[in-house]
C-alpha cells in the first residue's frame, strides 16, 4: 500500500563538539515535496568558525529522505572541497552514500556545459544575414530539384505513387468544399454589402451584381481559395513532410535511391494544380450566390435580373484570368508547403515552425503573384 508521508518537518542543527569539528544533525523527513533547510546555514558556520577542519553527520533521527537530502549534502560537500575541510560520511545512511557515489561516478564531460555568452549586435545581424542567404540558397536548390522533377514527369520518368495522388486529390478537393463554401459566400456577401451602400446613393442597386461577379471571378475567388488552401493544405503538407523528417522517413527514401522532392512534391503539386481551378470556379459560384442573397434581401433586386446582369458583365477573359490565378496559386501553395516541410528540423517544435512558415510563405507568395499577374494583365490590356 502506498503510504502518505507524515508531515514531520526536516530539521537541521549544528554543533561543534571539538574546536575543529562540526557535527551536522539531520532529523525528520527530507523530502523535496516539503520545505527544506538549505546548505547556507552550514556555510555560515564555516565562515564564523574558521577553525573547523572536519565535518561529520548524525542521522539517528532522520526519517524518510529523497533527492532533497542528496542535493543538500552535495552542496555541503562542494563547499567543504573548496575550503579543504575533511568530510566524514560515516554517519550518513548507506543508501545516501551510494547514490552520491553514483552521481559523481561519471565525471562531467569536458566542454559539455554551454557557457552563456552575449553576442554583439553586428554579429547577430551578420548571423541573420548569413542565415537568410543560406535559406535563399536552399530555396533555389529546392526549386531546381522541383524543376528537374517536373521535366522527369513530362518525360514519363517520374516516380511517385498514383494512389498518393488520388488521396491528395480527395484531400485538396472534396474535403475543402465546406470551408471554401463558407468563406466564399461570406466574401460575396461582404462585397455586395460594401457596394450596395454606395450604389444605393445613385439608385444603381442592380450593378451590385457586376461588382460581385467581376471581383469574384477575376481575382477574389482565386485569392480566397488560395489563402484557404495555404492555411489548410499548405500547412498540412509542411507538417506531414516535417514529421517525416523527424522520423527519418526522408532519409529512408534517399538511401533507397528515391528522390524525396520528386516522390513527395509531384503528387502534391499535381493535386493542387488540378483542384485549385475547380475550387476556384466553385468559390466564384458561391460568391455570386452570396451577392445574390444581399441583392434580394437588401436591395430588392429580382434574382433573374441579378443573374442576367452577372452573365452580361462576365467575359471569358475574366474567367480565364481567374483560373490562371488559381492554377498559379496552387503551384505556390504546394511548393511553399513542401519546401518548409523539407527544411524542417528534427523536433516537434520544428514541425510547428515549418507549418507556420509554410502558411506565411504561401500567403506572401499569393499576394506577390497577384500583384505580378495584375500588372501583366494591365500591360497586355486584358
Amino acid at each position: 500500500m502506498l503510504k502518505l508521508t507524515e508531515p514531520d518537518p526536516a530539521g537541521l542543527s549544528l554543533t561543534t563538539p571539538t574546536a575543529d569539528r562540526l557535527l551536522v544533525r539531520l532529523s525528520g523527513n527530507w523530502k523535496i515535496t516539503a520545505p527544506l533547510p538549505t546548505a547556507f546555514d552550514v556555510g555560515k558556520s564555516f565562515e564564523s568558525n574558521k577553525g573547523i577542519r572536519r565535518i561529520a553527520f548524525d542521522t539517528k533521527r532522520l526519517g524518510e529522505w529523497d533527492s532533497g537530502l542528496l542535493t543538500f549534502l552535495i552542496k555541503i560537500f562542494e563547499g567543504c572541497s573548496n575550503s579543504n575541510i575533511e568530510v566524514d560520511k560515516e554517519g550518513l545512511p548507506e543508501g545516501v552514500r551510494r547514490l552520491i557515489e553514483l552521481a559523481t561516478a561519471v565525471p562531467e564531460r569536458k566542454g559539455a556545459r554551454k557557457e552563456g555568452k552575449k553576442e554583439a549586435f553586428l554579429f547577430m545581424v551578420g548571423e541573420k544575414a548569413v542565415a537568410f542567404c543560406r535559406s535563399s540558397l536552399e530555396m533555389l536548390d529546392f526549386l531546381g530539384e522541383a524543376f528537374l522533377a517536373f521535366t522527369r514527369l513530362l518525360r514519363g520518368q517520374a516516380s511517385f505513387r498514383r494512389s498518393d495522388l488520388t488521396l491528395l486529390l480527395q484531400e485538396c478537393g472534396a474535403e475543402a468544399l465546406p470551408i471554401v463554401s463558407l468563406i466564399s459566400i461570406l466574401v460575396g456577401l461582404i462585397l455586395a454589402f460594401v457596394g450596395a451602400i454606395q450604389l444605393k446613393l445613385f439608385g444603381a442597386q442592380v450593378y451590385v451584381a457586376d461588382i460581385v461577379a467581376i471581383a469574384m471571378v477575376r481575382v477574389m475567388g482565386a485569392i480566397m481559395t488560395g489563402i484557404i488552401m495555404a492555411g489548410r493544405t499548405g500547412a498540412a503538407f509542411a507538417a506531414q513532410i516535417g514529421t517525416m523528417q523527424v522520423n527519418e522517413e526522408i532519409d529512408a527514401l534517399r538511401t533507397m535511391g528515391i528522390a524525396p522532392v520528386e516522390f513527395l512534391l509531384l503528387p502534391r503539386v499535381i493535386a493542387l494544380i488540378i483542384m485549385m481551378p475547380l475550387l476556384c470556379i466553385y468559390a466564384d459560384i458561391m460568391g455570386i450566390l452570396g451577392g445574390l442573397i444581399v441583392g434580394m434581401g437588401m436591395l430588392d433586386v429580382n434574382p433573374i435580373e441579378y443573374l442576367n446582369r452577372t452573365q452580361e458583365c462576365l467575359t471569358l477573359t475574366t474567367f480565364w484570368i481567374g483560373l490562371f490565378h488559381s492554377a498559379v496559386f496552387g503551384v505556390l501553395v504546394a511548393l511553399s508547403g513542401c519546401l518548409r516541410g523539407m527544411q524542417c528540423g528534427r523536433s516537434a517544435s520544428d514541425v510547428g515552425y515549418a507549418a507556420t512558415s509554410a502558411v506565411v510563405t504561401g500567403i506572401i507568395s499569393i499576394i506577390v503573384a497577384t500583384a505580378v499577374i495584375t500588372f501583366l494583365c494591365e500591360v497586355l490590356q486584358l
Binding site: 502506498l2 523535496i32 543508501g95 551510494r98 547514490l99 553514483l102 554551454k114 520544428d350
Partner: protein, 250 residues
C-alpha cells in the same frame, strides 16, 4: 519492505475494440520489487504498462494501488496516484521545445515548493545520476538517442516517485550505458525503496535486475508464468516460457 503490495492486478482483460489481446491477468507487484513484464513481440507488454499508468482503459478487471481501484476511482484520486509514478517511455518522450534542465524542472516546479536554486540543484543531481552532468542546457534534438533515454529517466526520477515504470529501458543503449542503467535501477530500489516495473525482453537485463515477473503468452492470450525470472528459467515447465528465457537455445 518487500512483501507489501504496491500494485495488485485482478482479472484484467485488455484489448483494442473487440480484439482481445490478453485475458484474466492476475499478479501482484510488491513494494521494492523490480517487476518485469515480459513476453514476445506484440503480446501486449506496452499495452499492459499503459493500463497500469492510466493511459489506456482495461476491457475488464481491476488495478489496485493500495486499496484504491485505479480505474473506478474519481479523477482527483487518480491524479494523486499518478503523481507517485515516474515513467520512462521507449523513446524518452522529452519535450523538444525545452532543454534537458527544463524537462526535469517542470514537475518540480509544478508539485514542489522548491526555490529556483534548489530546483537547479535537484536537476543537476538527476542528470549526474544518469551520467549526463553538464548537459543541462542541451535541447533533446542536440543529443543522441541513448542520451535522450537517460535524460528521460532523469525526468522520470524528478519527484523521487514511489513507482518507476520503464518501457524497454535498454533498447537503443550501448552495453555500458545499459549496465549502468541496471545498476541505477537496483540502487534506486535499495536506497529509496522504489518499486520498479519494467517492460523488457532483454534477457541479460531481466536476469540482472528482476526479482519478480509475469510472462504474457501471445499464443495462450494470458499470463502463463510469474515469479523470479531466474527461477522461471531453471524450473518453468511451460515450453514457451522456457524457450523465451533461454532464447530458444535449449
Amino acid at each position: 519492505m518487500t512483501g507489501e503490495a504496491a500494485i495488485v492486478v485482478k482479472n484484467l482483460d485488455m484489448g483494442y475494440g473487440d480484439f482481445v489481446l490478453m485475458r484474466n491477468l492476475n499478479f501482484t507487484v510488491n513494494r521494492g520489487d523490480v517487476f518485469i513484464i515480459m513476453g514476445g513481440s506484440g503480446c501486449g507488454k506496452s499495452t499492459l504498462l499503459k493500463i497500469l499508468v492510466g493511459l489506456k482503459n482495461p476491457s475488464r478487471g481491476q488495478v489496485l494501488y493500495g486499496d484504491t481501484d485505479f480505474w473506478s476511482t474519481d479523477p482527483d484520486t487518480k491524479e494523486r496516484i499518478q503523481r507517485r509514478f515516474g515513467i520512462l517511455y521507449q523513446s524518452g518522450a522529452l519535450w523538444t521545445s525545452m532543454t534537458l534542465a527544463e524537462n526535469i524542472a517542470l514537475p518540480l516546479e509544478q508539485y514542489t515548493q522548491l526555490k529556483p536554486g534548489q530546483i537547479r540543484e535537484v536537476v543537476s543531481l538527476k542528470l549526474a545520476l544518469v551520467g549526463l552532468a553538464g548537459f543541462e542546457d542541451f535541447y533533446p534534438s542536440e543529443i543522441s538517442g541513448g542520451m535522450k533515454k537517460r535524460a528521460g529517466l532523469a525526468r522520470a526520477m524528478a519527484l523521487d516517485p514511489d513507482i518507476l515504470f520503464f518501457d524497454e529501458p535498454s533498447a537503443g543503449l550501448d552495453p555500458v550505458s545499459s549496465r549502468l542503467l541496471d545498476e541505477l535501477i537496483l540502487e534506486l530500489r535499495e536506497s529509496l525503496k522504489t518499486t520498479v516495473v519494467v517492460v523488457s525482453h532483454e534477457l541479460a537485463s531481466i536476469f540482472t535486475i528482476g526479482n519478480n515477473s509475469v510472462y504474457l503468452d501471445i499464443e495462450e492470450k494470458t499470463m502463463t508464468a510469474s515469479g523470479d525470472p531466474r527461477k522461471l528459467r531453471e524450473n518453468s515447465r511451460n515450453p514457451n516460457v522456457h524457450r523465451f528465457l533461454t532464447r530458444g537455445e535449449k
